[in-house]
Each structure stands twice: as C-alpha cells, then as structure tokens.
Symmetry: C2
Subunit: 384 residues, 2 copies
C-alpha cells in the first residue's frame, strides 16, 4: 500500500510540475511499478478491492456536487448524446473487425466492447478543476448514466444473440429494471433524503450520524445497482446526488478524506493492469492502434454530434469527456473470450483500448476546457 | 461490507440507547453476524485487512490529539505502570497454569500471552468521550507504547528459551531496535514534522498535500514499526503524534472521515473472530473463566500499583484502561501452538481471554471515569 500510494502521489507531483494533470501521473505510476515495467507490485485482490472502493468514493463525491434537478433538466440532450455515442462506436468497431477479416461474432463483440463509457476519470478531472457546474459537465454525467444502462442492454443483446436466440421478454425486463432503478433514484432520491436526513439527525444518538447514513446509502445503492444490472459506481453516483441537497459540509469533508486515501488506488490500479503484450506481434499492434484511434474518434464524433445543437465548444467538450471506456468493455470482451467467440489477442486489444482511452482523456479534457481551466487553483474555482 | 457496516452502526445505536458505549454494540454486532451466532459473515482476508486499516487510523487519530512533549513528561510513571503491568499478569498466568497441572512451558506461554496490552479499544473510548487530555489517559497511552516494546521482549525471551537457549546478543539487538525506533520517533518526530510540513506545504503542487504527507508518514511508520518489531498500530500512533503540532484541522477532518468508515470494521472484526467453542467442555470453560478473571485482575492490580502515587481514582482508571489484550497475546499463543508446547484448548482460551478483556473494557472505563463522563456530548467535551 505504501509503495502504491507513495508512487502515485510522487508521480502526480511530477506530472503537475510538468504542467500535466496529476491523474495522468497517478495512472502512469501504476504502469511503472506494475508488472509491465518494473514489476514491484502485482495486481492483487486486496489492491483491486481498494481500487473499486476508490471508484465508488470518487463517483459518490462527484454525486454530492451535483443536484439531480439540474441533471434531469439536461436529460433530453444527454439521452441523444448517449444514444449516438453508443451507435457510432459499435458500427466502427464492427466495421473495422470485418475489414480486418474477423468473424461475424468477433466483429459484434468488439463493437459492443467499444460502447460503454466509464465516467470515473472524466468525473475526477472535472471535479478537481471545479468544472462540474458547466453545462457540458452535467450533460456528460447524465449521458454517462444513460450510457451505462444502454451498455448493459447491448451486453445482454450480444450475449443472447451469440447463443443463437433473443429472449425479448428477458431483455425487456433487464432494461426495465436497470432504467427503473436509475430513474426512480434520480427522480425521487433527493426528495426522500431531504425528508429523512433531518429525522435521522435528531433521532440517532451515535456520533457522525449523517455520515453513517451517507455510507449506508452509498453501499446500499451500489449493491442495488449491481442487482439491477448497472455498474456499482452508478449507484454510488446516484447516492451522492440524492444527498447533495440534504447533507452538510461535514459529510463532504469526511467523504473527501476517504476519497483522498482511496482514489490513488483506483487510478494507479488502472495503470497496474496495463499489459504491453499486445505489442509483441506487429499485426496485433497495428490492429490495437487502429481500434484505439477508432475508439477515441467514434465516441468523440458520436457524442459530439448528439450535442451539436449546443455549439461547437460544448460539443467538443462532451465528445472528449465521453471517450474513456472502462470495466464494461472489458466484461464484454471477457464474455466473448469465455464463449470462445473472440481470440486472446483481440481480448488484449480491448483491454488495451479501455485503458489507453482512460489515460489520454485527462489530457484531452484539459485541451477542451482550456478557457475555463486554471491549474493549481483547483478546488476554489467554481463556474456557476 | 454493507452488512457489517450496517450491523455495527445499528447495534451501536441500540447500545447508546441502552446507555452503553456504542463500541460495545459494534463489537457485539460482529459476534452476532459472525460464525458463532447467526453465521451471516465469515472472517475473510479482505475484512481483516480493512479491520487492520481501521486500527491504524484509530491510533493515528488518537496520536493527532496527543502532544509528544506531554507524553514524555509522564514517561517515568508510564514506565513503572508498564513494567508492573507486565510482571503481575505473567506471574498470575504462569501460577494458574501450574496449579491447573499444565507443563512448565505451557505455564510460561500462557503467562507471556497475558502480558501485552492492546490500547486500541481504550484509545477509542477515551477519544470518543474527549478524555484524552486527562493525566491518566496520557499515562495509559505512554504505558501502552512501552508495554508493546516489553511485550515484544517477553515474546522473544519466551520463544528462544523454549528452544533451549537464550541468544543474549540477539535479544539485546531486538530490544535496542524496538526501543530505539520508539524513542527516536517520539522524541524527535514532532520537531522534524514541524520543520518539514511548512516546506511541503509551500513546495508541493498536488491537492491536499498535507494529507498526502500525513498518509505517507502513517503508512511509512507503521511499516517501519513492524520491521523494528513493534506493532503497526504503535507506528500509526507515533505518526499521529509527530503530526499533532504541525497539521491543521483539515488533516484531522480527512483522517476522521477514513476513521469513521474503517473503525467499525476494526470493532466488528474483533467480534467476528469470537468463537464460543471454549465452552464446549466444562473443564476448559472453567479454566477460561479463571484465566479471564486473572487477566482482568492482574493488569488492574499491576498497572494500578504502578500508578499508586497518583491517588486512588487515577490509579483505578489506569488499571482499567490497560486491561484489554490484543493481537500480541494471540501471536504468543499461536507460536506456542505451532511449537507444540501448548494445546489447542489452551490456545482457544488465550484467544477468548484477549477478546473478552477487549469487550469488557469500555464498560469498565465508563465506571472508572464516571465523574468526567457525559454521554452524547462526546466530541465537544474536552478536559484540559
């Protein structure tokens, strides 16, 4: 733990001094100390559990900064962004694999693995620079939530289609459950917590009762989200958002403490998992490069188009913010690998693509938000 | 995680309503959901890692509240308390086992396992009630640190004596290293951090630099403490103490957040490990009862005598605060078991004794500090 934390923070400092986001430094620290470069640390169950906890707290803190009413207001645009951000990457991934000579199923799986945005990194960059209140940031967050539900559906469709038959009823139920969970919590969560929190405050006798309730909601909704089929981090985000209006500064500070400790594990944990093995064969390396570029371009184009009516600047910001892929893509690829539909090298390419899109995003966000960004004034800087 | 956290906090609330310390509720929650009653949760590596992290943060936070200069001032009395608190329990445990018909080595091991105080629980109770600044609290903390070094020595002596020969040089080096580490950090840690912190503050560009440095010191000293042979929590306590004078409210708040999340895992983790198997045989249960009473009485008498010159009230408080045994006792017993010197049932008795002394201490502390205690005004109540 000491090694990982020290390396992450040391590299973050170095990155900041070089004028780069600290986050990139923390991820690179993971790459450096991980198996692919120095090999000081191996990914372990404990580190990956800490990393997942870090992601939960990251999204929870982001949720705390966001009012659900504001997010629901941008719902229409966000739905458009999410949808075209699903279609374009799928078609691109599918097309490239067919051109490369992959099988029909291989093309479908690679396309599907390029669909789901993982909003963790974007949220961290936006939150660190106090940019969560910009309209494009809100659309990114809302679109990422919708995107996660869509990603789940794509996964369900792909996996049942590959097995040869589509259970429409089952798919419908999956969709209903995931969308229902998200909508109910987003729509009524805030009001419920506004009603409950003061009650809890006055009736509980344990110390830091608000924080205890916040933690229970965080873990509870994260667990429920997984049952409903969406990612645990979406549950954590919704928990934070439900509490945004009702909790005081104290809960923010306490959650911030946990986040400061755990988020480096999430970031360096991403780096730890990077494997450079895709570069051992020239043709694989070439395909990896093409897929990576397509992954970046397709989300940028797809989401950017979806947000076109907001003007060029905002559309670019949204396009960039939606680039990072995450666990869902890897889950799709893993499923394909387990079903024998895709090869080991294609799997490695998907993992590589997920990680590198995550790593380049902070740099791209800095470019896209250039006008609003003042480094090293981080937390004090807010845009209404 | 959700189950454990919710159960711990639920039982804490229940305990507070019954007028008992919340801590007892959290430990009992562990007993209830653990394998010995309902069996909803089994102890796992991940939970025990969280529990250890919780203990580190607990002692770190206690350290933050304590100035090293104040602790060094009570060093003489604390040394006396620690020493007589080592001798009396050893003799009692040794005597009881001999009377019960145990072998010579068995008697030595049981005696040794009754030596080391584990200050975590006491620190938590005192800190929750804002009692860390009472003279007896300072002596308890200082004595616990010294006690840990002495416990290490007893362990070293016992294990080498059982192997038939004493390596005096090795023992001397062990003692020197452990005592040296503790004294150097306690003596010069605060001054060093007072010099370093402002420098760090102005020269680092990453966000929350003070907290990052604090975490590095916490994990660094905890790791060094283990290398030096003392418990990791002693390192965490020393790290907190070194930072007590130089860090602001912000680090306190952030560390508090981590603590609030993790300490329930430490407390309920203690409960999870309780096994009621010692009660399956009448003679074992009898011996367990006798050993338990002896463990409580011997520390109370030993440490109380060492603090006799402070008057009856303070001596009683110190005697009570030093009662809980912890991991060190279990380590001694485990060693004896591994060496074939003690039997499985004796091992179970030692584990039982360690846990029950921990569980009863919060109740006893409340009695001993009755005059100073005002429940439910917890964190706002300070005694200069």
């Amino acid at each position: 733990m000491l090694i990982l934390f020290a390396a992450a923070k040391g590299m973050a400092e170095l990155a900041e001094r070089l004028g780069q986001p600290g986050i990139v430094g923390e991820i690179l620290a993971g790459v450096l100390i991980g198996p692919s470069v120095f090999g000081w640390l191996q990914p372990s169950d404990f580190l990956s559990a800490l990393s997942q906890l870090g992601a939960l707290f990251l999204l929870f803190r982001v949720g705390l900064e966001v009012k659900s009413s504001e997010l629901l207001k941008v719902g229409g645009t966000a739905a458009l962004v999410a949808s075209s951000g699903v279609v374009v990457p799928f078609l691109m991934g599918w097309g490239i694999l067919l051109l490369w000579g992959g099988s029909r199923y291989e093309a479908i799986f690679v396309g599907a693995s390029m669909v789901a945005t993982s909003v963790g990194i974007t949220a961290q960059v936006l939150s660190a620079h106090g940019l969560l209140h910009v309209i494009s940031s809100k659309i990114i967050l809302a679109a990422a939530v919708i995107d996660d539900v869509l990603g789940l559906l794509v996964l369900a469709v792909v996996s049942s289609a590959t097995r040869g038959h589509l259970h429409w009823v089952e798919l419908g139920l999956t969709a209903l459950l995931a969308a229902g969970f998200t909508i109910v919590v987003a729509r009524w969560g805030t009001r419920t917590m506004q009603a409950i929190t003061p009650l809890v405050e006055t009736s509980l006798r344990i110390a830091e009762a608000q924080f205890v309730i916040a933690m229970l909601l965080l873990f509870g909704l994260a667990a429920l989200a997984v049952y409903a089929g969406v990612a645990a981090i979406i549950g954590a985000f919704l928990a934070g958002m439900a509490l945004a209006d009702s909790t005081g500064r104290r809960v923010h500070d306490l959650a911030q403490g946990v986040g400061e400790l755990l988020v480096p594990f999430f970031l360096a944990g991403i780096g730890l998992k990077v494997s450079l093995s895709v570069f051992s064969e020239a043709s694989t390396a070439l395909l990896a490069g093409v897929i990576l570029l397509a992954a970046i371009a397709s989300k940028f184009i797809g989401c950017g188009l979806g947000a076109a009516r907001l003007g060029r600047t905002e559309a670019i910001r949204i396009g960039v913010g939606m680039i990072p892929r995450g666990e869902v893509g890897m889950v799709v690829a893993q499923l394909g690998l387990a079903m024998g539909v895709i090869q080991q090298n294609i799997y490695s390419i998907v993992v590589f693509m997920s990680l590198v899109t995550t790593i380049v995003t902070p740099l791209l966000i800095r470019l896209a938000y250039k006008g609003l960004l003042r480094p090293s004034e981080e937390d004090t800087f807010r845009v209404g």
